[in-house]
Amino acid sequence: MMILTVNGLTHQVDAEADTPLLYVLRDDLKLNAAKFGCGLGQCGSCTVMVDGKAVQSCVTPLVLLEGKQVTTLEGLGTISEPAPIQRAFMEEQAAQCGYCIAGMMMRAQALLQSNSKPTDEEIRAELQPNLCRCGTHMRILRAVRRAARLMDTADASPANHGSTP
């Protein structure tokens, strides 16, 4: 039995210490935003935040998460009340097939929480581990820039969404 805190809620999970976080999120907690892509930590579609940092959940065993705060996309906003990062991705129509987008948003969120005004270079470098096969990279870039602007306004500050580091 492992104890896991996700989106502010503590769960008791019937899993071994070496179970990857992604499996528990999707199979046990039914949080399906994080996707299984490669299972090797090479594509980024499973990205979530752990204590405010982007982490690939497919290569993160539960044993590493004791006492840490996991945040998934579901923890940022809802369909009726999307978080700035989600609004920005919708407004820029950044998703094509959408498989990579949850991971992209989580890594972008982690970036914006530590650096509210990243340069294009910084956004590109930070999102480098996340792959998109549809080729919407330019829209994703625009969406991250838009999210930075949205978060810059007081009513949508990053502190109101997701875990604070």
Binding site: V50, V63, Q128
Partner: protein
């Protein structure tokens, strides 16, 4: 600091001891400035040759700052004595070497003196470059003088008194600089001699792989016995090599040329740049380097050979399931490492079986800690390995547990001492050494540029 203080004192004493003698030893005349030669004045085939030589010499790595213009210098080189900044070697007349004649360039390569007659600090490895032939110096000169001139003033070195006085370097040279171009060994083959000329000269392998003495000079008695560079360990590349499978010339060639070998893994850290460069030069030169270095490693003892074969056999057999008794290190390994490192796919796309890893068999866990924290980033425009970094998800204690587990599971060496401290140091250096990772190729090695003069 204390160490450099003592060294400083010694050097100061040396200096005061014979001021007049020192003047005679240290004074070098300026070489007249020239008008920067026109790029068209250089023979294109000479420039091309210079491009390859610059790649072998890894010039761009030290003389190009991250995100900066090629060869414009400004890279901080940390040394036990202070930080030295690399110089601008583009043909800019004011801040680069635009006003240097070929004779001035050759003098710098041969004896570490700049055009003005000032002694250069030996971070510029002229103790190796002194071996480079006039012909190759001419090609390197032609290559550098045809680069884009970049206006980039040289940054001030950060050295404590008295080391900020370049005259002291003259004393260092008396002790450690053995001037003279490479003299072939007639008892050895042409390929061996070619390899020796490159390794001991332009390629300056010993600059990282040979330990240094208190005065920062390579210990010739411990050639290739391993050294430190940019927070990485440069492994011993002689009979003391800790690699589980002994190196031979075929493996060395494949590794230096392709950046990885199925029995040894991939070249990362500062070595990534080196193999990136060597993928672009004449295969015969890489073969010669491999041939000579195989001789430096020496033929493995029968015992060593047997151990290598055993490591290979074990790597190929089905892995034993990770023991739960080793939790949490074993659990971390099972979820975070085994999926790639037990996949059986050869590098660069699969991780090597860790029983073959020199990082795990080596005398300390520094390189392993670096790699686990920062991962291996893909290199733009190259078929290169990828490994996610775990700095964001592993605490120091968890990383230490993992390293201890890997050591006990995948090597027959005794446990490492001071793993926690190494992990802390690696974490602290993390942001610094990330900058040596996967930077853009230097101009000397860009494939798209290869056929251009």
């Amino acid at each position: 600091m204390t160490k450099s203080g003592i060294i400083g004192g010694l050097l100061a004493a040396l200096c005061v001891g014979g001021a007049a003698g020192v003047f005679a030893v240290a004074w070098r005349p300026a070489i007249a400035a020239i008008n920067p030669p026109k790029p068209q004045s250089f023979d294109t085939s000479l420039v091309k040759r210079g491009r390859e030589l610059a790649a072998i010499g890894n010039c761009g790595d030290c003389h190009t700052a991250r995100g900066g213009k090629s060869f414009a210098g400004g890279v901080p080189v940390p040394t036990p004595f202070g930080t030295i900044f690399s110089t601008n070697v583009t043909p800019d007349p004011e801040t680069g070497i635009g006003r240097w004649s070929e004779a001035a360039f050759r003098r710098a390569m041969r004896s570490g003196v700049d055009r003005d007659g000032q002694h250069l600090y030996p971070t510029f490895p002229y103790d190796h470059f002194t071996n480079v032939s006039d012909e190759d110096d001419a090609a390197l000169y032609a290559f550098l003088m045809t680069r884009e001139p970049v206006r980039a003033p040289v940054r001030q070195n950060q050295l404590a008194f008295p080391l900020d006085h370049r005259v002291l370097v003259a004393g260092w040279k008396l002790l450690f600089l053995h001037r003279g171009t490479y003299r072939p060994d007639s008892t050895k083959s042409a390929e061996w001699n070619r390899g020796a000329y490159l390794v001991e000269g332009l390629a300056h392998c010993g600059a990282c792989h040979t330990p240094r003495n208190a005065l920062g000079a390579e210990r010739t008695s411990a050639s290739f016995a391993g050294g430190d560079v940019d927070n990485w360990r440069a492994y011993p590349i002689n009979a003391q090599s800790p690699s589980p499978v002994p190196w031979d010339k075929e493996a060395l060639f494949a590794y230096l040329r392709d950046g990885s070998h199925p029995d040894h893994g991939t070249a990362r850290g500062p070595m990534a740049q080196v193999v990136g460069n060597l993928s672009e030069v004449a295969a015969s030169d890489v073969q010669a380097i491999a041939f000579y270095m195989a001789d430096m490693f020496g033929a493995p003892t029968p015992d060593r050979k047997r151990q290598g074969e055993a490591a290979l056999a074990q790597a190929k057999s089905a892995p034993a399931p990770a023991s739960r008794a080793n939790a949490p290190g074993g659990s971390i390994y099972a979820a975070a490492c085994a999926t790639c490192h037990e996949s059986g796919r050869p590098p660069p796309y699969g991780g090597i079986n860790l029983g073959l890893s020199t990082a795990i068999a080596g005398p300390d866990p520094r390189n392993l800690a670096n790699i686990v924290l920062s991962g291996v980033r893909p290199v733009e425009g190259e078929r290169s390995p990828i490994m996610p970094g775990f700095a964001a998800s592993m605490s120091d204690a968890q990383l230490a547990a993992l390293l201890n587990f890997l050591r006990s599971r995948f090597s027959n060496q005794p446990p490492w001492a001071g793993v926690e401290r190494t992990v802390e140091e690696a974490r602290r250096a993390d942001t610094t050494f990330l900058q040596t990772f996967a930077g853009p190729r230097n101009a000397a090695a860009e494939a798209s540029q290869r056929d251009k003069p």
